[in-house]
């Protein structure tokens, strides 16, 4: 009875989670947290952690695009900002708990300001997408220009193109002498993805989430029903910004290193590709998308077959032209059709006269 699972994955709207879904989450958590770390070596765990770290960014994107109907091309702005905020404040303060929180909260504040202007300005599709892209591009340029020795925050040189090496590892809040090692980062990233996944699913099933999905479907109608769609959209924008900031913070912790590439065009394109390949109107799809694309780029890198950007471009064009729904919904629909007997007395189908 697998289709129960896929029904949850493929439902675009905020449906209340079923018991089967909760069982599925617990099973996956057990698999990832108990079974996998025991079977994999540290190198594999390191490779796997980054998938979960980036999955947070993908979740932020699909929440914003797939559920709220706002196609932001620049979630990388909050991703990069989170990373830089964590790195700079951790290196200045010497502790990591407060910087970790700042790495989430400052991008949220930035998203609030940016969101006020572009959501309340009612920027429509193209305008919204392009402005978000330009914001991340300009941030990228600004950070790249900070290579001189005069660009210092506290004791930390921003380093321009070269980024900041030696970002401190995360300390355990109640025991600052211990820092998270590779396996610790792995556990933390898996737990964060699970929490984000369950949290977003519950948020989407709440009143807030239902209004958001309504805004995606028909903004004018929601407004006529008495809601202010801009408040809901701004809320979603800020939540997504915080999630992207969290992802950036974890990325800095994972790699002990940050560089302006976090804001760059290629990263911004990758975020879109993960989500469109996995299926934008699902929450599990983007996570699968990150895994697939990350695996593909690493594999292409080791094969030395030319350009990764070339392949990503082909994947993006093909996804837009041929597979609009994405992988997970397509698979889900296929499985549904295979496992469920076709209904003959379909009430929607009228008999021919």
């Amino acid at each position: 009875m697998l289709w129960f699972l896929f029904r949850d994955f493929t439902r675009p709207s905020g449906e209340r989670p079923t018991v089967v879904w909760w069982l599925f989450v617990v099973a996956v958590a057990g698999l990832l947290l108990v079974w996998l770390p025991g079977t994999l070596g540290l190198a594999e765990l390191l490779d796997l952690s980054v998938v979960f770290v980036l999955a947070l960014l993908a979740l932020s994107m699909s929440f914003l695009w797939g559920y709220s109907g706002m196609l932001s091309f620049g979630q990388t702005a909050y991703f990069g900002l989170g990373g830089y905020v964590y790195a700079v404040s951790a290196m200045n303060l010497g502790t990591t708990t407060l910087p970790f929180l700042l790495g989430v909260l400052l991008p949220m504040a930035f998203a609030l300001v940016v969101g006020y202007f572009i959501v309340y300005g009612r920027l429509s599709d193209v305008y919204f997408s392009v402005m978000t892209l330009v914001i991340t591009l300009v941030l990228n340029k600004a950070v790249r220009a900070t290579s001189g020795s005069q660009y210092v925050v506290g004791d930390v040189r921003l380093g321009g193109q070269n980024g900041i090496p030696g970002v401190p590892a995360l300390q355990v809040p109640w025991d600052p002498a211990t820092t998270l090692f590779i396996d610790g980062v792995y556990y933390l990233s898996v737990i964060l993805v699970l929490v984000a996944y369950v949290g977003l699913r519950l948020a989407l099933a709440s009143r807030f989430g239902r209004v958001l999905v309504g805004v995606r479907e028909n903004e004018k109608r929601i407004e006529l029903l008495g809601y202010d769609p801009r408040r809901y959209k701004l809320g979603a924008f800020v939540i997504a910004g915080g999630l992207a900031g969290l992802s950036g913070t974890m990325f800095a912790i994972w790699g002990n290193f940050i560089a302006p590439e976090m804001f760059g065009l290629q990263r911004a394109a990758e975020v879109i590709i993960w989500v469109i390949v996995g299926g934008k109107a699902t929450l599990i799809g983007p996570i699968v998308g990150v895994g697939l694309i990350q695996y593909l780029t690493t594999w292409l890198g080791t094969q030395g077959v030319g350009q990764v950007t070339l392949v990503l471009g082909v994947v993006l064009i093909a996804a837009v032209l041929l597979f609009r729904e994405g992988l997970v919904p397509t698979l889900g629909a296929l499985l549904l059709r295979l496992t469920r007997p076709r209904r003959r007395d379909d009430p929607n189908k009228r008999d021919e006269p």
Binding site: I118, S124, V126, V308, T309, L310, G313, A319
Partner: protein, 286 residues
């Protein structure tokens, strides 16, 4: 006197660059309400075609138009193979052109390598009073004016221009009157691409050609077109005039990066006030 000249030159040059890189984009946007995210790579392709033709021995004043024509043809190919299937799906078009952009960076890097290519122009320096300007900047300013003028003349006084303007204002009516609007879309895309290719080629003597050069310009071009709004000529001129002046002065006084940041901030505030651009409220005009 010299300071006045310096500022005039800085502003004129910044405005001209902005006009060059955004005019083709604005035409496509005005016609199809779509931003071509591969704009930067069309510029890059123009630059590469220019380097290629001039390496084959052609003088610069031939290589530049040739590059424009080749990029225009390339634009028609992209329109036929990718974009024509996506009319009416605005966001999908943006995504597909982003795919085209990545693809083009990948192909050019594979074929020509990641390094930068440059050619030098034979135009020397221009001296006004005690102030020396690179001659090629004058060429760029002249080219921007010429391109605006040519586009205006074509749109305003030719038969084809009339049909194009009609299709921009009301595609349904144009179709009802027997215009093949798909053909007009294709031609506009090709013409916009040709202008962009021309711009890319014109930039080569100053900045050279490299696979990722597009990324340097698209931010400004997108801002200009988005704040310009749906009317390509008035929009480009007003937005380029405003942002180019800010950019020119700020870059001269502080740094180019600060100039771009201030342009972005001004644009964000402006879009809060005029969400569909300067020309969003205008119904007629080009």
């Amino acid at each position: 006197m010299d300071t006045v000249f310096t500022y005039l030159y800085q502003v004129g040059f910044a405005v001209s660059i902005l006009v060059l890189i955004s005019l083709g984009l604005a035409l496509i946007f005005g016609m199809m309400k779509v931003i071509n995210l591969a704009q930067g790579e069309f510029l890059m392709l123009g630059a590469y075609f220019c380097v290629l033709t001039s390496n084959m021995g052609a003088p610069l004043w031939i290589a530049i138009p040739v590059a424009g024509i080749l990029v225009g043809l390339f634009g028609v190919v992209v329109e036929r193979t990718v974009i024509q299937w996506l009319y009416g799906r605005v966001l999908d078009t943006l995504l597909a052109t982003w795919g085209v952009s990545l693809l083009m960076i990948g192909i050019v890097t594979t074929v020509a390598g990641p390094q930068s290519h440059s050619i030098s122009s034979s135009v020397g320096r221009v001296v006004v009073g005690g102030f020396v300007m690179p001659g090629w900047s004058m060429v760029i300013i002249a080219a921007a004016v010429l391109m605006l003028l040519a586009t205006y003349l074509i749109l305003r006084f030719t038969n084809l221009g009339l049909i194009v303007r009609g299709t921009m204002q009301n595609p349904q009516m144009a179709r009802a009157l027997g215009t093949n609007t798909n053909m007009i879309y294709m031609l506009t895309f090709g013409f916009g691409s040709a202008l962009t290719g021309l711009a890319g080629a014109l930039l080569v003597p100053l900045f050279g050609a490299s696979p990722t050069m597009g990324g340097l310009y698209i931010g400004k071009a997108f801002i200009a077109v988005i704040s310009g709004g749906p009317l390509p000529l008035i929009g480009t001129m007003s937005a380029s005039g405003l942002y180019g002046s800010i950019d020119g002065v700020m870059s001269y006084l502080f740094s180019p990066v600060l100039g771009e940041i201030i342009v972005l901030l001004v644009a964000i505030v402006m879009l809060r006030l005029l969400p569909s651009g300067v020309t969003g409220g205008m119904r007629k005009g080009i």
